[in-house]
Each structure stands twice: as structure tokens, then as C-alpha cells.
Symmetry: C2
Subunit: 203 residues, 2 copies
Amino acid sequence: MALVEFHFDFGSPNAYLAHLVIPEIEKRTGTPFEYVPVLLGGVFKLTNNRSPIESFQGVKNKLEYQRLETQRFIRRHAITRFAMNPFFPVNTLMIMRGAVAAQMERVFDRYVAEVFRHMWAEPKKMDDPAIARAALDQSGLDGARLIAMTQEPAVKDRLLANTQRSVERGAFGSPTFFVGDAIFFGKDRLREVEEEILGSTLP
Amino acid sequence: MALVEFHFDFGSPNAYLAHLVIPEIEKRTGTPFEYVPVLLGGVFKLTNNRSPIESFQGVKNKLEYQRLETQRFIRRHAITRFAMNPFFPVNTLMIMRGAVAAQMERVFDRYVAEVFRHMWAEPKKMDDPAIARAALDQSGLDGARLIAMTQEPAVKDRLLANTQRSVERGAFGSPTFFVGDAIFFGKDRLREVEEEILGSTLP
């Protein structure tokens, strides 16, 4: 059975929307997704890529079309908990390092669910340490400890290594999925991701 | 029943690949696609957009991923008749005007099928008038007449009007589809196009 990976950065609304749909796919396929924290800013630096908002800023119709596709995705999956973050773009270095810290502390699943919520359901300025700490505490996590851990070399190195490895395997943006070695980019590939999982699990 | 439109330029390999798949969708949905010739270079000028090859030239992994998605599309639809045009990018002004001329001459369907073939199955330098004329003649069309007609103001104006109208309705690249007023961009949206057609034809 192929390993299924979701390479994500909390700063990407498309990663959040994918995150909301992943449980349905896990249920239908019987295959868990492994969440891999990467730093999108690092992916962009390593690939010389830019965010869609930067790339398409001066292009007529293109961002409008992307917004339309986002609305369609939200409607198709009956998503109710999504709000644009008014502080977008939020610098995610601290909260992505926090995700690695949360792995070490074995609170990763809750951390991911809660930080996505604090970014895109009840959006906050999560690059502000005081706000992030309060949000994590509110979520029943140890905000002070997780944020302190983001300064540890082992945490920093792990996020950097995840990011470099992701680019080495073909990533250039967020969200990126791997089914074994097969790469898929973007929330709109989730159908193909599901088909690839089902194909790869056939006897 | 919604009008279904395919806005295409022969210069786009993705438009060609969509063209090969459209007949299956027409059969399954019982809905014909109306082919609308537009000038992709004009769309790019009007929207300040650029081709993916230009936009993503310096970006690591992105064009490789697009190639992978093209291979997946070809495999999924069991496409055997596709060859990259060695003269890419071909200036398509003449052959797109020729498509409008072919509409006036009531040989549009054959012209479209044959020019796509001359671009992407048995690729030729179709911006060379002598080569284009010979190719059209070989296809049983009146090459000399169609190419002469590309200089008529009515033909030029019609292609320009199609292109402007397409951008006014939200287009920024090729291929673009409309199901009624709903816009879809890219060959990878054909599934959603099909679903939209089926949804719009429900009682």
C-alpha cells in the first residue's frame, strides 16, 4: 500500500480547504494521510516560485477565476467553516516550526487541526507570538512550551529538511500530495489523489 | 439547455488534447460543443497574461509537473495521436483567421479537425503560408481560397471580436469552456464541464 502524504503550510488557504476534505477521502479509501509540515516560503525560495496572488496580480480575469474555483470547491464539499484571514499573508515560520515541535510533543494532530482553525475558521494574526500563544492555550495546548521549542535547532532543522526534501521530490507550492512517488499539486487534484490511492491498493 | 462553448486556439497543445476528448463528452451528455475560434496571443495581450512556458520558465519543478499532468491526461484518455510540434510556438494568426473563413465557407468542422491534426498529430510549421496551403489542400480543403480570405476585413474583425468577447466573459488562456455563463479553464476541468452540463440539463 502506497504511503499518502499531504505537504502543507498553514498559510495556504488551499491547504486548509484540502485539510477539511481529507477525512472523507481517508474514510472512503481506508488510507490515512500523513501530514508533512513544510515551509511554503522556503519552497518558493528553493524553486524560484511565487504565490498565485503575486504571480497573477496584473493578469486580468485570472485571480477572479481562482476565486470562482475556490467557491466551487467550498460548495461541492459543503464547507461552512472558512473565512479569509484578514492578516493574509501571515508569516508562518513560527507556526510551522510549532508543528514540528508538536510532533515531538506528540500533540501533532490536535495542533494541526487547531492552528488551521485559528488561521482560516476564526482567523487570527498567528505570526504574532502573543496571539499564537493565547490561541494555542485556548486550544488546550501548551502555547508557551511549543513556541519556546520553535527556537530549538532540532526543530528548525527538521522543518528545513522537510522543505528541502519536498522540493527534491518535485514540490513547488501548497498543497502538494504524494501517493507513493506520484506527485499531485493543488486542492483540485484530490479526486485524482483518491483514484491513485484506490488504484495503488488494488490487489 | 445551456449553450456549451469551447474557446480554442490551434497553438495550444492543451486545446488539442481537449478537442480529442470532447466527442466522448458530447456522446455521454447528448450536448454538442460549439467551437469558438479565438486568438490566444490576443487574449494574452488583453489580459496581460503569458503562456505557462514563459511564466514558469525559471521555476523549478513546475513545468515538469505540467508535463506529468499532460502525460496523465493522455494515458487516462488513451490518446495515441499527439506529438509536440517542433516549431512551437507557432504564430496562429493566419490559421485562426482561416478558422473564421472556414465558418463562412461552411467547412469549419473539417478545417478544425484537420488543422489540429497538422499542428499536433503530424506537426507542421503552420505559420508558413506555403506549408499551410499545402496541408489544407492535402486535407481536401481549398487552401488558396481559405488563406486568401484571411486578409478580408470581415474575417479579421470576426476573430478580433471573438477574442475580445471571450476576455470580457472571463477568459485568460486556452482552452476555455463555457456552460451557459459558467467558465472553466484548462483541459483538466473537462470533468467539471461534463458535470455542469449534466446538472444544467436536469429537469
